[in-house]
Amino acid sequence: MILSKDTMQIVHEQNVVPFRNRVKELATKIGMSLVNQTKLITAASELVRNMLKYANGGKILLEIISNNGRTGVRLTFMDEGPGIADVQQAMRDGFSTGKSLGLGLPGAKRLVNEFDIKSKPGEGTTVTITHWKNGR
């Protein structure tokens, strides 16, 4: 069940901090603990950065969801960038085409309860993460 729904456009770096603040608001609203909030916001921060760096921005869906008595925050990052040719490779620690650490995707996956990535070269990338109130 979707309890609240909201979208944000990400077009430049200045959108990152307001986006992170919005995620914090949602997490606070459902009573998520500080450690879990920090994990969720850090994962979200990595994904929004990727969106800006590799796809020139995109759109994020922010939702509060409830499922079997659990409440959580679900974020969906949608871009129409170049996509990822080999998702499995991109999910590996240390893999980067941006001369970076290659930590964003695998790190984000470790930080949240649910992580899903779909990508098609030439069409774009969609990453969905869910973090439950109690972190499980």
Binding site: V17, V35, I41, T42, E46, R49
Partner: protein, 136 residues
């Protein structure tokens, strides 16, 4: 343009980050600090991040850059006051702050810097300071 103030105290540079940094501000700080180290010949850099609630891979990389570039110029870097939730999250993200020393608070950080840059004198050095008979 926004800037984070850098304080010079003896051989040290002190920075207190009061807000969650957006990228441009973080990059400006990196630049300013490196310039200050080279201009003043500072031997230690102390960065207080106790008010920072999110350190993602970008911010982590900035801290690492400051430390490694300062070291080239013979200065050590200590990051103090990292919030426990941030520390837990960094481990899970997989980010190691390479070359960055950490301490609990400003006081402990200063102590660490003092031992790192060897302000506490070596007994051997003291021997050399004993004047020759000739000069007496």
């Amino acid at each position: 343009m926004d800037r984070i103030p850098i304080l010079k105290m003896g051989p040290y540079l002190l920075v207190t980050i009061q807000v969650d940094l957006y990228d441009r501000l973080a990059l400006t700080l990196e630049n300013d600090l490196i310039n200050m180290v080279s201009k003043t010949g500072a031997r230690g850099v102390l960065i207080d991040i106790s008010a920072v609630s999110i350190v993602d891979s970008f911010m982590g990389r900035i801290l690492g850059n400051i430390a490694s570039m300062s070291r080239i110029m013979d200065a050590e870097t200590v990051v103090v006051g990292m919030q426990p939730a941030v520390a837990i999250t960094l481990v899970e993200l997989g980010l190691t702050l390479q070359g960055v020393y950490t301490a609990l608070d400003v006081e402990k950080g200063m102590e660490l810097l003092q031992t790192k840059i060897g302000i506490i004198e070596d007994p051997e050095d003291e021997d050399e300071e004993v004047p020759d008979d000739d000069t007496v």
